[in-house]
């Protein structure tokens, strides 16, 4: 959505036009859901958090500053809700073993991989991403999926830019370590195949 159109919608939503805010929800719901879903790794909880994030954003619209992108502000709200949710879940269940969390996406019919090797690799990569810490995973998702700069990611996570770079560096190192164990014969060839199928 172009920035000026987005600002017009926000201005109208601030004046109480529900249709303007509905347009904003429509524009951002999938991106926000993708981020939250990968962060909390549960479909139902992700939907609830997204809903709460949109409601909170609507009620706090007056505090939004046009200096930053609306998506950055929205992701900041959602990330804080995710943090609170994960803390509550930890408090309720003690030590959380995320490896036991049910994975919902691999067997869905929309899986893009056409070969068994790519499908296996896809599962392996997401499994490795899920083993990252929450800030590392969020930084990776915002960087690759949302294309956010390190400064913007810092705003979302509430940390300095240097810390974001550190998160990304550690996340890549950990992914390298985890994925090297799942050694693929030829990552380069797979990359070419994967790019064609994942896109």
């Amino acid at each position: 959505m172009p920035r000026d159109e987005e600002q017009k919608l926000i201005a109208r939503a601030r004046r109480g036009h529900a249709d303007a805010y509905r347009a904003l929800v429509e524009a951002y719901k999938d991106r926000l859901y993708a981020f939250v879903s990968r962060t909390v790794r549960n479909h139902h909880e992700a939907e609830d958090i997204c809903q709460a994030a949109f409601v909170k954003a609507y009620e706090s619209l007056n505090s939004y500053s046009e200096e930053y992108a609306f998506s950055t502000w929205l992701f900041t709200i959602a990330y804080r809700l995710c943090l609170n949710h994960v803390r509550k879940r930890k408090a309720l269940s003690g030590e959380v073993d995320f490896s036991n969390v049910r994975r919902t996406e691999p067997d869905a019919p929309q899986v893009l991989a056409s070969t068994e090797e790519v499908r296996r690799l896809r599962r392996t990569i997401w499994s490795a991403v899920e083993q990252l810490s929450l800030p590392q995973r969020s930084a990776v998702l915002l960087f690759y999926r949302e294309g956010k700069s390190c400064e913007d990611i810092g705003r979302v996570l509430g940390t300095p830019t240097v810390t974001v770079k550190s998160h990304l560096h550690r996340a890549r190192a950990k992914l390298r370590k985890l994925l090297s164990a799942e050694l693929v014969d030829d990552w380069v060839a797979l990359q070419a195949l994967g790019d064609a199928h994942w896109a």
């Binding site: 529900a18 999938d30 896809r122 090297s180 994942w198 896109a199």
Partner: protein, 217 residues
């Protein structure tokens, strides 16, 4: 450039921040090093997958409707106390207006007539001119005068005692204090009363005493 040096530049390369001669060196190493090629390909694959892979199951189709319904519900909940407050305030203000209207149009209560002030007691003229009244008046004046003279003599005695004590103790007093003490000791009390109630014709200007005026009495 060797593998260790190249690995230190992986982050900058993946973030698109590697440029210039360093980028040329990095690319040259990458072309001839299969291990670094594999690592970079792996990391780029991860980035591509994260960026493009879809999330399943997708968001519910009625997600937006539910969000808007929740917003409307919460807005209504927020407005409810305010609305109740406004209703109460409106009812109270209407009642106050009716009360003010009624009080304004009611006939005022008749006020009781003001009581005349009691007259000051006056001495009858025939009694004021009688010899008994004159005798009593003279007696009162005589007693007041005698009392004033007694007070005057007591003050004079006290002043002379104080002056004597100061002289005995060899205490230095300022000249104006000593002068004023002696004047008070010999003053006529009637004159003091007269001075107190009647304005003076000429104001005496008093100069502050200089320190060299100190002397011993």
């Amino acid at each position: 450039m060797n593998c260790v040096q190249a690995e230190q530049l992986f982050d900058a390369y993946l973030d698109g921040q590697l440029g210039g001669s360093l980028r040329l060196e990095f690319d040259a190493h990458r072309l001839r090093c299969r291990r670094c090629q594999q690592t970079l390909a792996m990391l780029e694959s991860v980035g591509t997958l994260i960026a493009t892979d879809s999330v399943h199951p997708p968001l519910s189709p009625d997600f937006t409707d539910r969000v808007m319904a929740r917003i409307a519900h919460r807005s209504a909940q927020r407005r409810r106390p305010l609305r109740r407050l406004l209703l109460v305030a409106g009812a109270v203000s209407q009642a106050a207006a009716v009360l003010a209207f009624v009080l304004y149009w009611l006939p005022p209560k008749p006020r009781p007539a003001a009581q005349p002030a009691p007259a000051a007691p006056q001495v009858p003229l025939e009694y004021a001119n009688s010899p008994e009244f004159r005798a009593i008046r003279e007696l009162v004046v005589d007693r007041v005068e005698r009392r004033l003279w007694e007070m005057h003599h007591a003050g004079t005695q006290l002043t002379s005692d104080l002056v004597g004590l100061a002289r005995y103790l060899n205490i230095s007093l300022p000249a104006d204090v000593a002068r004023e003490s002696l004047r008070m000791a010999g003053a006529n009390p009637w004159q003091a009363l007269w001075d107190a109630f009647l304005p003076r014709g000429e104001e005496e200007t008093e100069t502050p005493p200089a320190t060299d005026e100190l002397h011993s009495i």
